[in-house]
Subunit: 261 residues, 2 copies
DNA sequence: CGTGCTCTTGAACTTCGTCAATATTTGTGG
DNA sequence: CCACAAATATTGACGAAGTTCAAGAGCACG
């Protein structure tokens, strides 16, 4: 049973969508994508049972990362990509003079480390925002297997391409939108991804701080906080620190689509 | 001989780095990467003569795009990626309410269309900023060939990954930098890429308008114009409409690295 | 040799950042 | 389990950076 705060609703934690994970975490032996509940969201999206069988052996191990820990760091040698099993990550790049940019938040089923292929070294830091576990996918093995397995090859290309498309969307957000629009777009994206994973689309607990949200959206933490307060005042959502309840999704959507209405 | 304007220095136009292009443009027959002068900048980077021979047939045709014309449009069916042979492109995405974001400028040797793999449809517009020509690389053929040709497979992955890394750099720029820093970073990136193509790193003609630069950097055209004027006044460069001469590259670099010095 | 289009520049205004004070929550060790 | 310290979040007042609006100058193309 989860601990609850007096007078507060129970904190929803990330449900474990993957199969038999509590056992697997203790016995990190052979794990097959075929028996993973995340397969509809992860690398094997859209594969048949037959296809899935061929993935056997691609994921050779798992890795746990405690909250605040690094999955990998900028500059480290690249040799594997990672699929989030449980937990939540952020990736960030930084400039020479120390300014940071969060380039993304990753949840169950999403891939990390694609930036490393370009030069055999990682170009960002990947940090767990809560205790997390990932599947380790050897990149060499992935290349080998995808040479004889067309479906995997195509799927992998699609995932890289999707990351490029996503990045372009973030550029549009950073280059054109005002604070309210950015935060609304961010929240809608977040709830949409949570919903795809079986969570409520209206009630959520943020896994990241105001600073981290700001560092993703190109805003300062005070602006993020103020904008949350404004959304609250406007009746769009209840905001209580990191606990959110969306009251007017359409209202948020309208903010994103239309600058001044 | 190039046409020159009276009293003005000759306008440097894009030199043709590819082999026998003026003939090829008229006779768009078989062209091999092996005999293309762009091979050191394009898909075949780092390949041996042996490798290059295996690329034969990958580029099945060429295409010319007049200034202002679309190479492809958002929503169009995706079936090929394109390598710029001559000329200059921009890619842009736009939001529902019509706001635009230029996601990149592409010059000789750079690839266009990678965004299309994600969903078999293009997610941006690619528009020529001057009369241009591209090599058409059938994506199906590229997938086929890269299944039996490890070097190509790896090279293609690297290029996609590099695009992701580049995009993250743009996010950092859009999320953290002030107008002067953005423009300085943009100009340094541009001159560096021009230099890699055999142009002077200090003297260039912009192929894009102030509006387009602003739409890339998340600034309004007036801000871009004012910032150019400031760079001029500060002795960093000569600015005469689109004709630029960098006088103090180190000064520009210092602007990028260090917010206030 | 006009007529677009592009660019420059000024002035008022808006948005967001900065600085500062305070509140709330979380984590830690007694 | 409580108390204290550290981290996180809220809110206000003010200022800086960039946008908007407007007018005019410079080029480029037919």
């Amino acid at each position: 049973m989860l601990k609850t705060l007096p007078g507060a609703t129970p904190l929803p934690t990330t449900p474990d969508l993957s199969a038999a994970s509590s056992v697997a975490a203790l016995q990190p032996l052979k794990v097959a994508c075929a028996s993973c509940n995340l397969r509809e969201l992860c690398l094997p999206v859209g594969m048949t049972a037959n296809d899935l069988a061929r993935l056997d052996g691609l994921v050779d191990k798992r890795r746990s990362v405690p909250r605040g820990g690094h999955l990998f760091r900028n500059g480290e040698h690249f040799e594997a990509i990672y699929a989030v099993r449980t937990g939540f990550f952020k990736t960030c790049v930084s400039s020479e003079d120390g300014r940071e940019q969060v380039t993304g938040f990753q949840m169950a089923g999403e891939l990390l480390g694609l930036d490393g292929i370009s030069s055999d070294h990682h170009h960002c830091d990947a940090i767990a925002l809560e205790d997390s576990s990932v599947c380790v996918i050897s990149y060499a093995q992935l290349e080998n297997l995808s040479r004889e397995f067309t479906v995997l090859q195509h799927q992998f290309h699609k995932i890289m391409s999707r990351e490029i498309v996503r990045d372009h969307g973030v550029m549009l957000l950073l280059g054109n939108m005002r604070a309210e629009e950015r935060l609304a777009a961010f929240l809608l994206n977040l709830t949409q991804r949570l919903e795809a994973r079986g969570f409520s689309a209206s009630s959520l607990v943020l896994r990241m701080t105001r600073v981290e949200i700001g560092t993703y959206l190109g805003l300062k933490l005070e602006t993020v906080s103020r904008t949350f307060s404004k959304f609250h005042d406007d009746g769009l959502m209840e905001v209580k620190q990191r606990q959110l309840r969306i009251l007017d999704q359409a209202g948020l959507q309208a903010l994103v689509n239309n600058s001044r209405c």
